[in-house]
Subunit: 309 residues, 4 copies
């Protein structure tokens, strides 16, 4: 990989895809006004190598709503805070084979979500973080520390999510009916709706995820472990098998990297031991993943030969 | 039937089953304290013939929580208030083949409950009644008028249902996520939790259901139709196919009468053109129907030969 | 009912619906050539009262493929042959809430079909009949005895069913994998495919089903019980709750009679204690029931006031 | 990795686990006699590096029934023979979230199996291979060429699979009912039952899978590509997301390597660009994977630091 000019690769990808973003590829999420009014014509990409080199192209510095990408960071926070048993007692680690907000499996599996990256699983993680106190502040501190810049919630987005999140409210109450939620449903959901509203840019997300390509080492501080090496590997494994809803197989087949996507159009990807990467384009494909984001990752893997397989 | 002494039949059934109620047959619903503390040792039975003759035995005059039996009366109220299309546009008329509070079918059928007698369907009916205004008052007026005595909610039960009804809150929010609920979820649920809390005795329920054996004619007023003859037949049909959760086939097979049961241990049954009947015993079987109530109905059918088949 | 001229009712229904049959209402089953080539333009109706009076109109004497109507007669044969426990140990009695040939419930319920009127349930009944010997001959004897005319299989239809019945072969093997089938799968299916191929006319079916409106008494022989009174009632109950696939609720709601339908376009209906009825028109609605057959039954109930509710 | 003595690692693992195999860890598959009589007390492990170095310990040279490991090789054969579209038109690439032999998803997804590594998917691949002719011979040629030794079917095992494979017969007929199988069901199943019966040793399987750690290059012939580099990566991706039934997430989380398991107790694993590995121990855990095999892979990853994440 030494010979690859990563900046040139990103420039090439942006040159190829930005015009298609302008032409409106995919469909912007419209379930809340704050997301619906984001123009489709955005494309950004940024990366951060294991040794701290950064590269970026397109709208890489414009903040977007990270949405489900936050599930990666709340799970990280849970790994820092809780014993393994405390996390995995109420959440599985298997791909779900169903849409991200499905209630079907939750019924047959008695309120235990398949994995922490579907909505039900992330709400269960949020509940556990709430139990341990000050969850919203701790998440912002983690993210701000990881990228070295102040990260905040978008309160308008959080309020919209809460006002229209009937499916998530249903999921939380359903788990509560199986005694799988410790706190009042409202408290767990308040954390969940806030984490979804975090606004970050591609450059910030790529930097923040740096510990996943550094065996858990803090991206900005070589003397600090964000998580253990073993935990970092396991986060990557969960991203690869469960990080992109019911397109995880397709991502593995076509891209071959651990990824976590969000309906805001962002996707974070990790090349273990090498680099972390974030792409953003708001138009989604039918599986709810950024349409051009997925193409960008394919182009990146094709150009660099980087893949875990 | 003329030759049957109905009072003697009820006395015989009560003599047979009351000792078994005292011995604690079945399992009293315990999901809220107000239900859990009802002693299992109750057995009551009452009937009201087409021409107004009444008979009763056992604890036939002690009020109990009618719970899902209320679904019969709210659907009656909806039939009085709404056009057919308005009711059946968002609710089906088929047996569900799943437990009364299942979310599975609701997902694959995009928020349209299978029938008005499962929880989701009753919440959808409640929502429609709320849209038309003053739903709680109108339900009490209907019930009080039907039995000629004042009927009221048990506010303690309603509050308990609301405080612990996570599964029902999930169902309502889930339907709302498919745009199947007009009103704020809280308003539809407030009506639903109140209707479940109505307290009535066997004698009152048997009398109130009299219109179902009188082609829709008011049980206490021959000059007034509660519903049309056609609607009365259809309510009976819905009770027979959908009125007893996922034991509807078993009820039809063993008893052969339209029935609607509740987790408070009550079951109302109708012999079309002949009589209406209510039995109450708090211990439930595995399907959530009163264990001795079902036996009582079998004994009644055996003794009288009354069955629709 | 005494005043109703049943012949005139049938004539009126045929006059109303035969032109619509000629215009091609519904869609003829086309999964095998022998069914696909039946012209849609047929409409027949026939009835037989409790005391043996017959009436008929339209194509009431033309044989058609009774298909799933046979499930009623094989269950009758099983009731004659087997202990109750032997039948109901491997078959349920509840509506399925799923299409007639679904495998989903069969998996979660470990090979036990919901009821004897879905395909899996009928195959399980056929298997039991095969175990007791000479099943095909015994079915023809039963049917021939009931209508007083020789009834036979249509071997071409049976062969076509066998050659293309992949879904039924799947159902049978699936049950066998749960050890729910005694005989080689081929033997159970041979019986099943043959029973589906039986050819009878409306007049024959109406007469054959007469025991269901005579408390089990043979339609042509007052000294012989086909089944007990209790069994006859239970057959009627099963027909009402499970006899018309996933439209059982709709049939109960709109027609209110025990019915059993087949994809050949026939529907048999029973007015307990009064009469049995068969209507035939090959065009099916989306639920697999005869479109005009269902309308005919509604007209009949409207004209006569006969309904169990 | 250079510094790791791989032979010593394997010896250590065998020393740790062979006694537990002798003590009978897990449960030997018993659905056919030929598998049931294999003693649990076996443990073998073998590997083959990218440059052809081999290492082995325990029962590494004893043949066992590779069962579902064959699905990896038939998919390889399909990739050699067919256009991409021809393969993926009738088979998905997503984890199933259901047991390997489930019919549920197959019904809701209209006969299209989730991936080629569940039974239904492998039967669909077998069908395609049969269409292209001489499938059984070609599979044996592929396997024999890959390991440089003659590989054969165990005809006793194949016959037993055929005689008792009701679930697989159901799967094949079910797909056929959706027109997803080209050939007579018997022909597709004959191929499938034979591929499951292939007998190979750990050393043979590890060598045969060598192309998956060599970018598709033949393990014994540097001048020949078994599949393209891209195809090799994709096979690895499919193994990681779908190769171990509904424990794929658990394997990724704990082991982090592409794996394919079989009910004979074998598991093949790949470290891309580095080595291929096979472990065998007949006792299975509750997910149907070799209990000690999974532990062996964890020990291997722990000792060598090899993992894709």
């Amino acid at each position: 990989m030494a010979a690859v000019d990563l900046q040139a690769v990103l420039d090439g990808i942006a040159a190829t895809l930005a015009p298609r973003a302008a032409a409106g590829a995919g469909k912007v999420a419209d379930y809340i006004p704050a997301l619906a009014r984001v123009p489709a014509a955005h494309f950004g990409i940024a990366l951060c190598t294991r040794d701290g080199t950064q590269a970026a192209a397109g709208d890489a510095h414009q903040p977007f709503s990270i949405q489900s990408i936050s599930k990666l960071f709340t799970l990280t926070l849970a790994m820092q805070t809780l014993e393994d048993g405390e996390i995995w007692q109420r959440i599985g680690r298997e791909p779900s084979g169903n849409p991200f907000n499905s209630l079907v499996q939750l019924e047959s599996e008695r309120g235990v979500p398949r994995n922490p990256f579907i909505n039900a699983g992330a709400i269960a993680v949020a509940d556990r973080l709430v139990t341990h106190g000050d969850a919203k502040r701790r998440l912002l501190e983690l993210l701000s520390g990881l990228c070295g810049e102040t990260i905040a919630f978008d309160e308008e987005v959080a309020a919209s999510e809460a006002a229209t999140g009937y499916r998530n409210i249903a999921l939380a109450n359903f788990m509560k009916s199986f005694q799988r939620i410790d706190n009042p449903v409202e408290a767990a959901l308040d954390m969940y709706f806030h984490q979804c509203s975090v606004a970050m840019s591609c450059a910030q997300v790529a930097r923040a995820a740096g510990y996943l390509c550094r065996d858990g080492l803090h991206p900005l501080d070589d003397s600090s472990q964000v998580v253990t090496e073993r935990q970092a590997r396991r986060l990557n494994a969960l991203m690869l098998t469960c990080g992109t809803y019911d397109a995880a197989g397709e991502f593995a087949y076509r891209i071959g990297l651990p990824c976590k996507s969000g309906v805001g159009g962002g996707i974070v990807a990790v090349v273990p031991d090498t680099l972390s990467l974030c792409v953003w384009s708001p138009g989604l494909d039918h599986s709810g993943n950024s349409a051009l984001g997925m193409e960008a990752l394919e182009l990146f893997v094709g150009a660099t030969g980087l893949s875990v397989f």
